[in-house]
Amino acid sequence: MTDSPVLPLNRTCPYSPPAEHVRLQRDEPVARVTLPDGSTAWALSRLDDIRSMLTDPRFSANRQREGFPLQPRGVRPDADERPLLIGLDPPEHGEARRAVVGEFTIKRMNALRPRIQQIVDDCLDAVLAGPRPADLVPALALPVPSLVICELLGVPYADHDFFQSRSANLLLRSIPPQERFVAAKEIREYMAALIVEKAKNPGDDLLSRQLAKGADQEELAGLGFLLLLAGHETTGNMISLGTMTLLERPEALAALKEDPAVTPQIVEELLRYFTIAEYVTSRIAVQDVEIGGVLIRAGEGVVTLANAANRDPAAFTDGDAFDLGRAARHHIAFGFGAHQCLGQNLARLELQIVFDTLFARIPGLSLAGPVDELSFKEDSTVYGLHSLPVTW
């Protein structure tokens, strides 16, 4: 089959999935597709199919397996390098997740609220003291999640600027690749040194508690790096896309300003509506599996068109509409199954605090230009905005 469509396609409209993804969902929910690197895989686009795939032990999350779909060439981790939590299968995954998930309970996340509030307020103080227009990506969307991860890991306050600037350098398009590489190396080295320091002088933080439970230092450095990788750009992109969306929808913004109790629902709908990390739930079959009458063979990759799935008419009424009244928590923007986002309740809290605070403190906020002039991360695995100029 040489005429299978080349997928995944880039989004052309920030508010909707590519038309071809939607067509596949309707006509060919389990589709043979060609990936951008020329290899073939299956694409799933219905919510139910993806949910059952993600809870089926015949699929593996191990990105190091030969043939795992959508892995950037040349940077595939060496087969002997220790895999991160996100790439583990049972029984190793359950053990590793159980060891850290106590750090992410709703109770613990709520205890972080005052610190997150402080971080957001500090960023907004700087925005308000600075020139107009201001770019909210480097001023708010990127620093908030990286400083929150500092808080979680127990990075000393004096090192926050170092940590924040290096992690922003990893993500900003304006930074040349060579400098990004240096930033990644510096963060890894910093993480390793921080763990040695925590072993000597424990604090009230995730790293110290993991060390006290006997965690391996190298593994812990890997976890620290994964938390930054998984929690920084994702949350940052949702902050910028969410701000843009709310500024474009006065009725939603008015509802949020009027009653903070609706903020969690708005955040949930934003997560569904953008489904920014839709391909990270891709998998590889390790045994033959039949889905929707189609046989997927062991060794074949499965790519998830989760943005289309999060509007699947079988699961959401009028899924293309941004609807504040929707009960949307059965979306898969955080994935599904055993790997469902470890940091989801941290991300929810950060987004709620950011939106509540931003629009309360800068009531006259508006976009500095039209949405169609904004620069979106169309070709990136995690969708988002490169910059968000605003004024007030």
Partner: protein, 70 residues
């Protein structure tokens, strides 16, 4: 009706707690679910419990109808 949880499956995502914090909680050490109220009676609570069962990413929750075991 009785709510049951398979703690070997639970991955501590806390979705159940978000759905009904009166019925569900999480253990502090490993984040797994604690059922605070195992036999919900009013229809609204049962509705939320059904929602939690649907949303739970690891399919760890179930409602045992009266007269059945497990």
């Amino acid at each position: 009706m009785r709510i049951t949880a398979d703690l070997d499956r639970c991955v501590g995502a806390g979705q159940c707690v978000l759905t009904d914090p009166v019925v569900f909680d999480q253990r502090d050490d490993d984040g797994t679910v604690i059922i605070l109220s195992t036999t919900p009676e009013d229809a609204e609570t049962i509705g939320r419990v059904r929602e939690a069962i649907r949303i739970c990413p690891s399919q760890a929750l179930a409602l045992a109808e009266p007269g059945t075991t497990s």
